[in-house]
């Protein structure tokens, strides 16, 4: 979602977001619950077909899965030792398939469309929940990830420049202060743009 959206006109791009959300949730639940290799294989094939049909850039899709592989490098051998090779492979397969499925959703869905879907889904709860606020909260959460990442990178560079690479305080204090400052500025900008109207 953080700049992962890949514009396109494929069937998957054009599917209503609610359908995609329900499909994603359903498939993820089934992947978690159904413990047979054949089902997992089918789900994996379905996701791969989805990626091909959506014609999203393969390198971008692979980049989403790569961080999970690092976790698997550690977790799979441990699983093999303690539970055997089949449960270890199932665990690894489930994780990779789930992440790929979520990546397919983010690469074919714009945040604004997700906000509209959130508003629609929360419509029955409108007496108790402000759907616009929840949608905005989701958008800001997604938007703030690269902002915080930039802050952390800047602070790490500054820390290195001052020769304080090992100081946790030299990392945490500036990151917290700058994050709060950014949050305040963002709040002001939201008011200025009429987000609370």
């Amino acid at each position: 979602m953080i700049g992962l959206y890949s514009p396109g006109t494929s069937v998957i791009h054009r599917l209503p977001v609610i359908v995609k959300l329900v499909g994603l949730s359903g498939l993820l639940i089934l992947i978690g619950v159904v413990d047979t290799p054949w089902f997992l294989f089918g789900a994996a094939v379905l996701v791969v077909v989805g990626i091909l049909v959506a014609r999203v850039p393969l390198p971008t899709a692979l980049r989403q899965i790569l961080p999970v592989l690092w976790i698997l490098v550690l977790a799979v051998p441990l699983q093999i030792i303690f539970t055997g090779w089949l449960p270890a492979l199932m665990m690894g397969g489930k994780l990779v398939t789930s992440v790929a499925c979520a990546a397919l959703f983010t690469m074919t869905t714009q945040v604004s469309a997700l906000l509209d879907a959130t508003r629609t889904l929360l419509w029955p709860l409108r007496r108790w929940v402000n759907a616009d606020r929840i949608g905005l909260l989701l958008a800001l959460t997604i938007r703030c990830i690269p902002v915080i990442a930039d802050i952390v990178r800047d602070v790490l560079e500054a820390r290195r420049a001052r020769g304080a690479e090992r100081s946790v305080r030299a990392l945490v204090v500036p990151v917290v202060i700058r994050s709060l400052q950014t949050a305040e500025e963002l709040g002001e900008a939201l008011i200025a743009r009429g987000a609370d109207d």
Binding site: G3, Y5, Q110, V111, A139, R143, I191, G194
Partner: protein, 226 residues
């Protein structure tokens, strides 16, 4: 042009008085506000949009008091901040511009047309689906301007819009600001930005020290600096 009126405005942040008894009526099309860091000029600009309300006195825009009718004022007054990263809300360029129109309750087709026209006007069409956080500094500030101007405010307030930009990008933003039909109020340290302005206000330590045509006001500002 709308009338922006400051009536004996005083404002404090804690113990510090940042604005003292400011009395101004602004009706010109191009208004510049200059002053040293911490002089109170940004607070003055924020009051036009109702982001800050005065402790004493009042600020009105087209007859609307910013303290009591802030929402109506903000529909007429757009505000551009120094750091565009702080005001980009949505992940892609098109979505961020469209975000401003959500409160306008336009039909999706009308909103899409206005967004497309704004993207085109600011030369951002080729970046429409681009992640906003990956744009260059100048492009981000252009996006920030575009996202405000898509709502067609009557007044645009810009708080040091070129401070974080290099000379080339600053020039580009200056050209965009100069070409606007709206009444604009620009807070800046970069005096080049104020060429062709109708009126310059100089603030020093919270007080109005000059309010004049550019030449005379900037002479006062330079003498303050020296």
């Amino acid at each position: 042009m709308s009338t922006i009126e400051f009536t004996h405005v005083t404002h404090r942040f804690g113990e510090r008085t940042v604005l003292r008894d400011i009395h101004l009526t602004l009706t010109e099309r191009r208004i510049g506000i200059v002053g040293a860091n911490g002089s109170g000029k940004s607070t003055l600009a924020r009051m036009i949009n109702g982001l800050v309300t005065p402790d004493e006195g009042s600020v009105t825009v087209a007859g609307l008091d910013v303290a009591t009718r802030g929402r109506e004022v903000r529909r007429q007054v757009g505000f551009v901040f120094t750091n565009p990263d702080s005001q980009i809300v949505m992940p892609t360029v098109r979505e961020d511009i469209a975000f401003t129109l959500r409160r306008h309750k336009l039909t999706p087709a009308v909103a899409a047309t206005r967004v497309a026209a704004t993207l085109d006007r600011f030369g951002l069409t080729e970046y429409a689906e681009h992640p906003a956080h990956l744009l260059s500094g100048g492009q981000k500030q252009l996006l920030a301007l575009a996202a405000i101007l898509v709502a067609e405010p009557q007044i645009l307030v810009a708080d040091e819009p070129t401070t974080l930009l290099d000379a080339r990008n600053a020039q580009q933003i200056a050209e965009v600001l100069t070409g606007l039909d709206q009444q604009i109020v620009v807070v800046t340290h970069q005096l080049d930005l104020l060429v062709g302005f109708d009126r310059i206000i100089v603030i020093n330590e919270g007080c109005l020290v000059a309010d004049d045509a550019p030449k005379a006001a900037l002479r006062t500002y330079r003498s303050l600096l020296s």
